[in-house]
Symmetry: C2
Subunit: 333 residues, 2 copies
């Protein structure tokens, strides 16, 4: 569990896109985002107050979060100076980078001396159990996709936001690095040992109030041959009451697999539902979440109307047009 | 890769069942099983010549394989003396125990001094790639099950034996500890990191001669909520041309999951085939492998006849009645 609030480290981000972790935190947990730290040459801006480490500390910041991808896969000396400064001022560090903070001898030494934590969210920090499949109280929604990176995290976050706006009990459950940094907690599922994948998701989504919804971030796709096993562990460990099928209509082929066409929404619906009902016979598909960012508004609306007409369930782009339809459907379960 | 041939260490096995790894090697790779080493109080016997370490070395043995489960989860001092002796005589050690050989300081030190290898087959020794899904040459069969521990390893080994007896090119591909110790190579899939599961199976079953069959040991079940993700990684990473559906008819519920009933053969057939065809649209189900060990012979035969009549494909207990029917079906693909 990462302590909040955060100072968002944007470093020397080449552009706004390079700082998408910081953007996610700013968009979804603005109450955690007290300020930003930009180095010379930084081309990203979250519109937050620029702060020194000391100013952030004075404002109550607990953790400096690396909100930017590093160039060339190494933590540069210029970054190092800021990170060491943060540790010495008494902040923890959190990172989703491939090269781990803990593997940097100077950071590890100063963190130890100062009694600070280095959170490398790519690496599991818990010894997860093997899944036991026991029925848990509370309700769970899982976002499943036709492909990787079609908007499953944003779908779950949008549904959480809309449910909370309606006064419903709802918790986004992160299963990837960005989601963990946004919310401060979660399971880095792609780094979990095979035997414990489903158990890690049971651990992430424990028994809860009968009217509480866990909104589980999906990973991969049952139709993506590189990662499908990770997806099925979510379907069975998550024990969902409802699935939302996510899709991005402009993909020419499965991400990273030029020889593989995307499945249809119907295929994903049928396969995911068959498998989900092994763990929860009452599971239903609540609706469709379409990532329409590459379509003009009129085309996007026509696409959604067509999905609703063909498949008989609500379809929306929850980031663009709101998650109301999905929450209506979930609240009726 | 573990060097052969082996001396099978039976230790102080409580009974024959405790030495099932040794039994598997003796049954399936008799050419590797030069002798056995039994300590005082050993109640298992493979019917092999009892040998001292020195005698085994003189007979050309390269590796002492721990063919028995240890009591209480610790490597006892009595075992230690034999294992140290083996290292000092110049043998490697191989083990599928939970407590690793490498974690025993004295074994690690002597192995280093002597230049010997400690093979802990529960731990991956390769940095597997992420699966790329590219079509590979050669043919592959995957054993899939209604549940865990229904006979998937034995099915693949029986098919290998029958194919080789007919002069066909065939290789059993181990995906679990016992299979790896039997054949000296394989992937300990349940210990692989989630992102690399399917890639490890691509690595295990590389391109091959067009008329060569890889016979892939299955793991778990698509219907076993604790391990289904591991199974799906096999279905997609293995890219099978043929599935053999394995079943054990006497199970009251899924192994370790009292609230879960077993799926029907039809359910496993349909779900596995739908998913397998994502990676290989030509995949078919070749037949059914029924573990009839708890049925008298007449009942076993009636059960198999019923499966064939209902499902229209060959059904056999390959360990009891031979794998001929399955190999006939595979050879016709």
């Amino acid at each position: 569990m990462i302590e909040t609030p955060y100072l968002l480290f944007l470093g020397d981000a080449a552009d706004q896109l390079a700082a998408k972790v910081a953007q996610g935190i700013k968009d979804w947990r603005p109450e955690y985002a007290v300020g930003q730290f930009r180095m010379e040459g930084c081309n990203a801006d979250m519109g937050l107050p620029d702060m020194t480490i000391a100013e952030a500390k004075a404002k109550g910041v607990k953790t400096l979060v690396i909100g930017v991808a590093n160039r060339g896969g190494v933590i540069s000396q210029a970054w190092k100076r800021v990170l060491l400064d943060a540790l010495e001022e008494g902040l923890d560090l959190a990172s989703g980078l491939h090269n781990l903070l803990r593997d940097e001898a100077d950071l590890a030494a100063v963190a130890k001396t100062m009694g600070r934590s280095l959170h490398d969210v790519r690496v599991p920090s818990v010894a997860y159990p093997i899944a036991n499949g026991k029925k848990r109280t509370g309700k769970r929604m899982l976002a499943v996709g036709t492909d990787c990176s079609v908007g499953k995290m944003y779908t779950a976050l949008c549904v959480e936001k809309e449910m909370r706006a309606r006064g419903l009990k709802a918790t986004f459950r992160a299963t990837g690095q960005t989601g963990i940094l946004i919310t401060g907690d979660g399971v880095p599922l792609d780094a979990v040992i095979a035997d414990f994948m489903a158990g890690s998701i049971e651990y992430l989504t424990p028994p809860n109030d009968a009217d509480h919804w866990d909104l589980i971030e999906g990973q991969g796709s049952l139709y993506h041959v590189s990662y499908s096993g990770v997806t099925l562990a979510l379907v069975h460990g998550g024990q969902p009451d409802a699935l939302v099928v996510c899709h991005e209509p402009s993909r020419p082929h499965m991400r990273g697999l030029p020889d593989y066409k995307l499945p249809t929404l119907q295929q994903v619906r049928d396969t995911a539902l068959t498998l989900a009902r092994v763990a929860n016979p009452a599971c239903v598909v609540a609706g469709y979440s379409i990532n329409t960012q590459h379509l003009p508004e009129a085309e996007a609306k026509a696409y959604l109307a067509d999905v609703e007409a063909r498949l008989g369930l609500p379809a929306t782009d929850p980031f663009r047009f709101g998650a109301g339809k999905l929450v209506d459907a979930l609240a009726a379960i």
